[in-house]
């Protein structure tokens, strides 16, 4: 039970809290009060809330252990509805009026959790438990998976779109300082005084870092005063940007950094026009990492009990938030910093026992203090077990030496310090390989990275004096590198204190029981032992097998301990074992912040043609083709899609129809070497193409595979217009530019994209000429003077146009290019002229059906990057007289194989049956699964013109198999018989387009 405890409350004198201003908040449905300056964690502790969540796997009760980003237990869901955010650390949320939070892992209630029963089966849940247990019988896995998924995950995602604004901003500076503790502030001040452009970020809303929880005297001032003075001075410098509440979460190449500034925490309603979070994209010339250090826990039985906290956090809750945490405390420490917590505990009125595995030292500056304060120090001693059910009630201490004495101490708090880990995430993100320093018992930066410095605790320099001085030195160095002359640094002499060295010690081999390394993922010492026993050697594999460091905290607290344990079991040194890879983000970043303004209509560009509003007013349904929004079909009142498409198809073949083809890529090609270039890029020859004529061309990659196709027209001497597929326009232009610039710079030819300049209307059908001649001036449209595959300039509806006699439907057709700004009038005139012949507009679906009836391919639908022109049966377009891109590849052993997948037509035995596109084809319908697949369906439609279904397919050796029966096997087990046919289903002689 987490009932308010009489011993815990805010004292009168707060360091940073303002106890006169009360704030109401709710945690797991209960109402509490905190004060301004509280974090959610400090407010909960002040209210005596000891248990804040259940553990992920075993549902053990867990309490707050830290005061920062490393917190593994106090993970909460903040806010509600569309703006709720899961996985927030209670230690990093500043309390506000009306805050509502719930534990992400609380089961039915924190006091009673059905799944805590799993704990009883705990020894049956080793690493790999799910795979080992649920993978057989294999058939039952889907059932198990559903059950497991129900119990997995932390927190809940919002069910509706986030209504808030998020932003991103680019920033540039000379010197970026990461971390606003004493070292970072010292560096920023030095740099700022010289007039450099400085950005300093701090993840907390308050400046000061570790000093906030540890009052000291700095340059003759109280630390609080010193911080205030430095911040005031920095604020007065116009080239210095201070970013509090801004967590720098990623470091990338060439000093590019990303930071997320929380402007309004989750759950707070934000003012109109304000953004909730803002991502800073910072490009710096010099970067100083002053990211501090994170304290390590120690290992013993039940080291996860509520009431066990990191020693530094205990100090912070006492000093910064004035919370009395304990009456009877035990401090377990292998270094001097634990004694600071002991002092703070004594000052707050607790009786204290210190357990220190190091031998008593004559230099221990705490000896006299302990005598004066009746503090018992047990040297050469270890805690082997913590006891208690709801929270820690006592600890078992073992003292080495004669008789191996064992004691039990009653306590309501256990403060632990296993040493400090410099926060080297940014150094590691930048490619740095940290080095294990035996003396300091921690990883420190190794080789310098150009333009980067690590200072203060992040550099393994934990003393106040070192932090201040390294800040000044780093500032001067960075200034020098940026070309500034540094002003004389202020004197910052601080008496350095001699400390007794740390005893880097991880655990007692004989401690049994459940010893937790990663509290968020419930990874225990026993799990690492099992992983090593089962043969895992690489720390990266051990991590993945045991889930060490896999939580949202990324193992900030436990990872190094886990690696040290693994090293011990593998009988290796810690450097030999190494660390796992550090990857951004440092703390979780919301998707909202990452997406910024690129949501909704701004997610991607929508390209609309000149006729878009006409399509809308004529009832078009649209489909997205790349960024283009194209009419898909135009249903009339009461028509289904199939009925509309059938009608459009019949009208196009029997009367006249028009389509907006503006999205086809258009590239204007000019220059004396234009034809030479076309010859190299297309498979067919272009030398004999006269002005006024058009030709279909096929483009291959150098690997011989079909890349794009389209019609290119000779507009005049040395002047061509190339068309490409809608989706391939940018790719083809880039491709041609690359060859021209890098391989054939001697060619005089120039490419210009004119896709958007020209709107394109394609009119086709038996009455196309009769329709078009009503609106077209100055051009004789008769077949004799304007034959198929030719080009004329003319005036349509008073507007100058380019007219092409080409067709993608196989019908008599005219394609009209007109200046996009004047295009609507031309479209309207043709539409008007076609009325007496029953003209219809048609969309992409009808276009696909019409071209499939003719066996015309669509690159990217009937081809997939592994298809040569030979595979398509298009040998006729492959020149034998010249070289071109991809030609040599057509003679490779693999491309010459006769059993390659080749394009064929398919006709179903049941003419009414339309095959699913992508369906797999087999030769033998009775072959047991998995059957041998010999191809797949690429295009499949109902053809109203032919009165049956048609399909195109790629089939192994298909060109030799015309007439053979093969089968489609659907995934529901159904078998459909099909016959291989020609890929041309309609007008095989191609007479209709020539009339």
């Amino acid at each position: 039970m987490s009932t308010p405890n009489a011993t815990t409350s805010h004292l009168q004198e707060g360091l940073t809290v303002n106890s006169s201003r009360r704030l109401n908040f709710k945690f797991n449905g209960r109402s509490y009060q905190g004060v301004v300056g509280d974090t959610l964690a400090s407010a909960l502790l002040a209210n005596g809330v000891i248990v804040v969540g259940r553990s992920f796997k075993y549902r053990r009760r867990r309490g707050i252990v830290s005061d920062g980003a490393e917190e593994p237990n106090a993970i909460v869901q903040l806010g509600s509805g569309a703006t709720t955010v899961p996985n927030i650390r209670a230690t990093q949320v500043m309390l506000y009026e009306g805050l509502e939070a719930t534990s992400v892992n609380k089961g039915y209630s924190l006091d009673f959790d059905l799944r805590a029963i799993i704990r009883l089966a705990g020894r049956f849940m080793p690493p790999g438990f799910y795979y080992k247990t649920f993978m057989s019988p294999k058939k039952l896995w889907p059932f198990y998976e559903r059950l497991i998924r129900l119990s997995a995950g932390l927190g809940e995602i919002p069910k509706s779109p986030d209504p808030d604004l998020y932003d991103s901003i680019n920033a540039h500076c000379d010197i970026l300082v990461v971390g606003g503790g004493i070292a970072g502030l010292s560096a920023a001040l030095t740099a700022g005084l010289a007039g450099a452009r400085v950005i300093i970020t701090e993840q907390q809303p308050l400046w000061g870092g570790a000093l906030l929880g540890r009052p000291e005297t700095v340059v003759g001032l109280s630390s609080k005063k010193w911080i205030e003075q430095v911040i005031d001075r920095l604020k007065g410098m116009k080239e210095v940007k201070l970013l509090p509440n801004c967590c720098l979460f990623g470091a990338y190449d060439h000093h590019f950094y990303t930071a997320c500034e929380t402007r309004y925490p989750p759950g707070i309603t934000i003012p109109e026009g304000e953004v909730r979070e803002r991502v800073w994209k910072i490009r710096a010339r010099q970067v100083i990492h002053a990211t501090g250090a994170i304290e390590r826990p120690l290992l013993y039985k039940n080291n996860d009990l509520p009431g066990i906290m990191l020693a530094g956090a205990v100090s912070a809750y006492i000093n910064r938030w004035d919370i009395t945490l304990s009456r009877h405390a035990v401090v377990f420490t292998n270094n001097d910093s634990g004694y600071r917590a002991a002092c703070d505990l004594v000052r707050s009125g607790a009786s204290v026992v210190v357990v220190d595995p190091r031998a008593a030292s004559e230099t221990n500056r705490y000896a006299k203090w302990s005598d004066q304060n009746r503090v018992e120090i047990l040297n050469q001693s270890w805690i082997t077990e913590a006891r208690g059910t709801l929270r820690v009630r006592s600890v078992i201490v073992k003292r080495s030496g004669e008789g191996n004495q064992q004691f039990e101490f009653t306590c309501d708090l256990l403060a632990v310090s296993g040493g400090w880990n410099p926060v080297l995430h940014l150094y590691a993100y930048s490619g740095g390989k940290p080095l294990f320093d035996e003396q300091r018992g921690c990883f420190v930066p190794n080789a310098k990275i150009e333009g980067q410095q690590q200072i203060g605790a992040a550099n393994g320099s934990f003393s106040l004096a070192a932090c201040l001085n390294e800040g000044v030195e780093a500032g001067i160095h960075a200034l020098f590198e940026c070309g500034y002359s540094a002003s004389v640094p202020e004197t910052t002499e601080i008496e350095s204190v001699e400390e007794q060295p740390i005893l880097p010690f991880w655990r007692l081999a004989e401690s049994g029981g459940e010893q937790f390394i990663d509290l968020q993922n419930d990874t225990k010492v026993a799990d690492i032992e099992l992983a090593v026993a089962e043969g895992y050697r690489s720390i990266e594999h051990i991590k993945r097998y045991t889930l060490l460091g896999f939580g949202t905290d990324q193992g900030k607290m436990g990872n190094i301990v886990g690696m040290a344990v693994a090293a011990g079991l593998l009988k290796q040194t810690i450097p030999e074992t190494g660390t796992t890879t550090f990857r951004p983000p440092y703390t979780p970043v919301t998707f909202g912040a990452i997406a910024g303004r690129h949501v909704g209509p701004l997610f991607d560009t929508v390209r609309k043609t000149a006729f878009h509003s006409w399509h809308c007013s004529h009832g078009a349904e649209f489909e997205d083709v790349g960024q283009w929004r194209r009419p898909w079909y135009y249903p009339r009142e009461g028509e289904t899609m199939q009925q509309a498409v059938n009608r459009e198809c019949l009208t196009a073949r029997n009367q006249v129809a028009m389509i907006d083809a503006s999205t086809l890529g258009k590239i204007d090609i000019q220059g004396p070497d234009a034809v030479t270039f076309l010859d190299r890029i297309y498979t067919n020859g272009w030398g004999n193409l006269k002005p006024g004529r058009c030709r279909y061309g096929l483009m291959l990659g150098e690997d011989g595979m079909v890349m794009d196709d389209g019609v290119t027209t000779c507009l005049g001497p040395n002047h061509y217009l190339m068309t490409t597929t809608t989706g391939g326009a940018a790719r083809v232009l880039g491709w041609m530019e690359r060859w021209l610039q890098t391989e054939w710079p001697e060619l005089k030819v120039y490419f210009t994209s004119v896709t958007d300049h020209w709107a394109t209307i394609s009119v086709s059908g038996p009455f196309a000429r009769k329709t078009f001649e009503q609106v077209c001036e100055q051009v004789d449209l008769s077949s004799a003077s304007f034959p198929f595959l030719s080009f004329r300039e003319g005036v349509v509806a008073g507007v100058p146009t380019r007219i092409f006699r080409i067709s993608f439907s196989g019908e008599l057709g005219f394609e009209i290019n007109v200046n996009a700004n004047a295009a609507q009038g031309v479209w309207d005139a043709i539409w008007e002229a076609g009325q007496e012949y029953g003209i219809t507009a048609y969309g992409t679906e009808t276009m696909h059906v019409l071209r499939a009836e003719k066996g015309f391919i669509i690159v990217g639908q009937d081809t997939d990057g592994s298809v040569t022109p030979i595979d398509l049966g298009m040998n006729w377009i492959v020149s034998k007289k010249k070289d071109f891109i991809g030609r040599r590849s057509l003679a490779r052993a693999d491309t010459k194989r006769e059993d390659r997948k080749q394009l064929v037509g398919l006709l179903t035995s049941d003419p009414a049956r339309v095959l699913p596109e992508g369906a797999q084809l087999v030769a033998n319908p009775d072959e047991p699964l998995p059957a041998t697949m010999i191809g797949h369906v690429t295009s499949s439609y109902w053809s109203e013109n032919i009165g049956r279904s048609i399909a195109l397919a790629l089939v192994r050796g298909g060109h030799q198999k015309e007439g053979q029966r093969i089968y489609v096997r659907n995934r529901d087990g159904e078998t459909i018989a099909v016959n291989i046919s020609s890929s041309v289903f309609f007008d095989p002689e191609g007479e209709r387009q020539n009339v």
């Binding site: 740095g432 150098e702 610039q741 890098t742 040599r888 490779r892």
Partner: protein, 102 residues
């Protein structure tokens, strides 16, 4: 995200560029004279060195020009940029560097 010195436009963010892979691969003058293996070598095989790599880049969101860059694949430091047709940096400047950068 790299900072890349376009020979025509100056220093710009990587987001404006696109990488084309290894530079100085010359298309054989007479592909027919090559056996399958040599052609496949031209077509598919690339160096992928640990150290300085000569590669093609295009300022696709800017001037649209292709150029070459010598980039250290360990530190991602761009040793030099040079125009198509220009000589790559002297081999002395392309020696491998220590893992951590510099």
């Amino acid at each position: 995200m790299f900072l890349i010195e376009c020979p025509w436009c100056g220093r710009r963010d990587q987001g404006e560029f696109s990488c084309g892979g290894e530079a100085h691969i010359v298309r054989p003058a007479s592909p027919d004279d090559l056996d399958d293996e040599s052609w496949a070598d031209y077509l598919f095989n690339r160096k992928n060195p640990k150290g300085v790599h000569l590669e093609q880049w295009v300022h696709i969101q800017g001037c649209g020009r292709w150029f070459n860059a010598a980039r250290n694949t360990v530190s991602n430091k761009i040793v030099s940029v040079y125009k198509v047709g220009e000589e790559p940096p002297h081999p002395e400047k392309r020696k491998p560097v220590p893992e951590s950068g510099q």
